[in-house]
Amino acid sequence: MTYAKRVAVGLAALAFGAQGALAQDVTVGMITTLSGGGAGLGVDVRDGFQLALRKAGNENLRLVVEDDAQRPELAVQIAERMIQSERAQILTGIIWSNLAMAVVPSTVAQGVFYISPNAGPSALAGANCHQDYFNAAWQNDMLHEAAGQHANELGYENAFIMAPNYPAGTDALTGFKRFFEGELAGELYTQVGQTDYAAEIAQIRASGADSIFIFLPGGMGISFMRQYEQSGVDLPIISAGFSFDQDVLPAMGSAALGVINTSQWSPDLDNEANVAFVEAFREEYGRIPSLYASQGFDTANLILSAMDAADISDRDAFREALKAADFDSVRGEFRFADNHHPIQTVYVREVVEKDGELTNEIIGTAFEEHQDVYGDDCSM
């Protein structure tokens, strides 16, 4: 056994406090972002996933985690290693669409399952869908579509919309526009990783808009909200949950209060599985779980449910078991469409302060049983 391998196994053993590798083990390789600016998301997916394993106590699942540093070429290399050296039968963990596009097609082509806990690029939901690819989170457009839908209900008629100039950004604006029925006061693409939004805020001020839709994940959203708060512009903001979740809320502070955002999950979602999850996560890690943690948790439970129903060596049966999605999702109702992407309810949340901490609270429902539009292009 190589050094790297020994270490990986050691980590895996540590991860769920169980020793030894049995013959019928399922090896799950998790490639996720644990270093660099986007590390918060990967850490949450990993922590959520490991929490589910610990709660289930299933010793037949061996988890190997490695950091992709948000670099596509490194993710590809790790995927090859996990498949060829670790003999992983399932890969998961990737946060970013561009890394998913680099890894997923060749992974499923090699006969390895891939279960996405976060990224949902449209190509993989449509023309390039694959029987061994499952998305346990959402298709990228979904939450933005919900934001567009809810903007109608709020009576917004003249929205200013803005996203970074990259494919996930254009998808976000397309998704919003697909359901929004009002006029657009302006449409702006910003630079990826941009930190100063003064020029954009000035244009929003001058545009005569009645509302703003933004998709600015991670640090971009933090920067925008802080500057927006100081700008004196006071238009309501609506967004998808990615830009206003537990990973960025503490850093945004009061600037985020009252922002309406859409998500398939929320920490206050009232179902048995979720109440138990939120409590266990807080106890284990000392922070409120994020959307990403909930997705990591669900992904693990999805895999565990399939392992209970079928042996992974029988690929067809295992695939059917995954498709059945027979587990208690923390988001409540959950099932897969034919393109192996979720059909699910998307909620409307508001950023509130609870016990001195910023978090989200459900205030309504944007969609029930919502499905992405790309399924028609998928041959499954």
């Binding site: 270093s35 600016g37 918060g40 449409e187 990783g193 991670g218 502070g253």
Partner: protein, 305 residues
């Protein structure tokens, strides 16, 4: 497009330029006096922002945070100079690039080990919240304060270099390194002070900008690369060049992002115009730099020596 919007964008450009100046001044000073190229300057910016955020949270005061951030960046700068940088003065630029590149890796991961992977919270001080009416437009008070601080620091720096004993030594160091040793100046001490001064300016920029941006690992490198563009345009080693270059880059970048999509919208459909305009706007300052170098290969204000 109204006059008010145009004026506001111009102010935004100036504010952005002045923050770039704080970064570029340190870089160009260190190069001018010690002949050293320091890639880790962006890490000092990051340290300033992180320490400011942590201290502001601990003491409940942005201003204490700012002082702490400035001091921490200066201390980190002095420490780095004493342990690593001083071994690099006699080396070629390649070694300097490599060693300071290594410092970026160490400092970025080091900061993440200490402060964790999530962005930190840092807010604008209460005193500077809200907007002011400038007649033609309303403008963020904090940004206006940044413009004021930027100008004050620039004047302070000019006074320091033109009027004080330290300034004389710095100027002597820029023109003739052997001579100041002959004058009995402790060169080692001078170098450490200059480096710490540059670090403090970077840390100050990081802390000030951190209040309206995201305080996260890796925040320094995009600014660092812009600061390099600034000093290349201005002429490496020249403080005056850094000022002119910073304002040029700040204004052109802001105006490009604002105007280019509108110009393209005249003959392309809106969505396409936005994409093309944004793409071109992000390249604009590099095109400016290429243009300056074609016309004046040593920058607008070439430093002597």
């Amino acid at each position: 497009m109204s006059v008010a919007l145009f004026a506001e964008q111009l102010l935004n450009g100036v504010q952005f330029g002045l923050m770039l100046f704080l970064m570029a001044a340190g870089l160009t000073l260190v190069f001018g006096v010690m002949g050293l190229i320091n890639l880790a300057h962006g890490s000092l910016y990051m340290i300033g922002a992180f320490v400011c955020a942590a201290a502001a949270a601990a003491f409940g005061s942005f201003w204490l945070g700012l002082i702490a951030g400035l001091a921490a960046a200066a201390a980190a700068g002095a420490l780095i100079e004493l342990t690593v940088i001083r071994r690099l003065y006699d080396r070629d630029h390649l070694d300097q690039v490599l060693a300071t590149f290594a410092l970026i890796l160490i400092l970025s991961e080091g900061v993440r080990m200490i402060f964790g992977p999530f962005p930190l919270y840092l807010s604008v001080p209460d005193l500077l919240r809200g907007t002011v009416d400038l007649g033609i437009t309303r403008y963020s008070l904090y940004r206006l304060a940044l413009i004021g601080i930027g100008i004050a620091v620039a004047i302070g720096l000019w006074l320091l270099i033109a009027k004080t004993r330290l300034g004389i030594q710095i100027r002597a160091g820029e023109s003739d390194r052997e001579m100041i040793a002959a004058l009995g100046v402790n060169i080692r001490w001078l170098y450490t002070v200059v480096f710490a001064l540059g670090a403090a300016l970077a840390g100050m920029a990081g802390a000030l900008v951190g209040a309206i941006q995201s305080v996260q690992v890796g925040m320094g490198e995009p600014v660092l690369i812009l600061a390099f563009v600034v000093i290349v345009i201005g002429g490496i080693g020249s403080i005056k060049g850094a000022m002119v270059g910073a304002l040029l880059v700040g204004v052109i970048d802001t105006m490009g992002r604002f105007l280019l999509p509108r110009i393209f919208a005249a003959f392309l459909d809106p969505a396409q115009a936005m994409g093309v305009g944004a793409a071109l706007a992000s390249m604009l300052i590099y095109l400016l730099m290429a243009l300056v170098l074609i016309l004046r290969p040593r920058g607008l204000f070439p430093a002597h020596g």
